[in-house]
């Protein structure tokens, strides 16, 4: 209380002396900026989790009500394709983690390579998904009211497929967004924007990508297996 002046300059001096280009003026240090970005990303991730939670709640409610429908519906889904896609996404999670590792250790070309591999794996995932979807449309399995698959005329089966399409559809949209962002990052990494000094976008996108993976880790058994 003795010196309650308004002129304290605890951080400004140091900030102005060492001012890397990525550091925004309203942050005191790179560290503060990185921590803030990361906390922001984690908050964003829980909004994603809660967004998907709505679908998981719908899934659980209908599964409790009509368990047999889920068993019947799952027989129409190909567990091999689902399993393949699980492995593909897990692999892309690994490559994105390795990309961050490369950024942290200043291996810029490795960083670019891992980012490109991640995008390619995501592409494989989407291609498999495309074949799964078209096969179902071919059979007349559409979400909701348009459902016209004669071999599954049991009541409530269309609800299962509505849930399937909405869950995998929203997940697929997230994969597409991830592919876009990862490609952009690969381009920036190619330009040499990232290194151990500054790799926040890579780290944050990595977090996002892992979450997309986690959602699929749950979708795979819930829809394809049980």
């Amino acid at each position: 209380m003795a010196n309650p002046t308004a002129t304290a300059t605890t951080h400004d001096a140091s900030a102005s002396q060492h001012h890397p280009p990525h550091l925004k003026h309203y942050f005191v240090s790179s560290e503060q900026q990185f921590d803030a970005a990361k906390l922001g990303m984690w908050l964003f991730l829980i909004t994603e989790i809660l967004l998907f939670s709505g679908m998981f709640v719908a899934y659980t409610v209908y599964r409790v009500w009509y368990p047999e429908v889920f068993t019947i519906g799952a027989t129409e889904l190909n567990p091999w394709l689902g399993g393949l896609n699980t492995l593909v996404l897990l692999g892309s999670s690994l490559t994105v983690a390795l990309a961050i590792h490369a950024a942290q250790t200043d291996k810029r070309r490795t960083l670019v390579r891992y980012l490109v591999i991640t995008v390619l794996l995501a592409g494989v995932f989407m291609v498999v998904k495309y074949f799964e979807y078209t096969h179902k449309f071919h059979l007349g399995i559409f979400p909701g009211a348009a459902f016209s698959y004669a071999e599954m005329s049991q009541p409530y089966v269309p609800i299962f497929f509505s849930i399937y399409f909405v869950m995998t559809g929203i997940h697929g949209v997230h994969v597409l967004i991830g592919m876009g962002v990862l490609s952009w990052l690969a381009w920036r990494a190619h330009k040499g924007h990232f290194g151990s000094e500054y790799y926040t976008p890579v780290e944050l996108t990595g977090l996002y990508w892992h979450l997309v993976d986690i959602i699929w880790i749950f979708l795979f058994p819930l829809l394809y297996l049980i």
């Binding site: 790179s30 560290e31 990185f34 921590d35 990361k38 906390l39 984690w42 908050l43 991730l45 829980i46 989790i49 809660l50 939670s53 709505g54 998981f56 709640v57 659980t60 409610v61 409790v64 009500w65 567990p79 399993g83 699980t86 492995l87 897990l90 692999g91 999670s93 690994l94 994105v96 983690a97 390795l98 590792h101 942290q104 250790t105 151990s196 000094e197 990595g206 977090l207 892992h210 979450l211 993976d213 986690i214 880790i217 749950f218 795979f220 058994p221 819930l222 297996l225 049980i226």
Partner: protein, 141 residues
């Protein structure tokens, strides 16, 4: 291992090991799903999926080495998903739990009681007639 800013750098070896475990768990869940474990099918699949998700969160997302506040945020998110699910199930899993309550209303009961009282005062032997009245038994399923 620490990077320039004191960020934790997860060693490559750890990442690859975690990936290997994830692949193994995927195969395990695919195989166990083919067996008929009765009521254990769903819990087992969920347990394996949760383990896999936990590994991704702890190592790939490096939450194990991260700021505690980020872990808190993540825990908060998961907690509220659990709340959402549980409280919705309180309804949907018990929907219609009032269906077995009698259809008799309070005024029905009062009317019956006053009738019984009148009869007790007047003609005592005719009470059995009311007992067989279906509207008094209730029991609408």
């Amino acid at each position: 291992m620490k990077a320039q800013h004191g960020h934790h750098v997860t060693p490559k070896k750890t990442l690859i090991k975690v990936f290997a475990v994830l692949v193994v768990l995927t195969i395990v869940t695919a195989l166990t799903a083919q067996l008929d474990l009765g009521g254990l099918d769903v819990p087992l699949a969920l347990a394996i999926a949760s383990t896999k998700a936990g590994l991704v969160v702890l190592f790939f997302m490096a939450l194990k080495y991260d700021n505690k506040v980020n872990a808190l945020v993540f825990a908060l998110g998961v907690t509220f998903v659990a709340i959402f699910l549980t409280f919705t199930l309180f309804d949907t899993a018990f929907r219609g739990d009032l269906g077995n309550v009698g259809s008799e209303t309070i005024s029905d009961i009062e009317r019956r009681e006053s009738m019984l009282r009148d009869r007790a005062a007047g003609v005592p032997e005719s009470t059995e007639g009311t007992a067989s009245d279906p509207s008094i038994e209730g029991g609408e399923e």
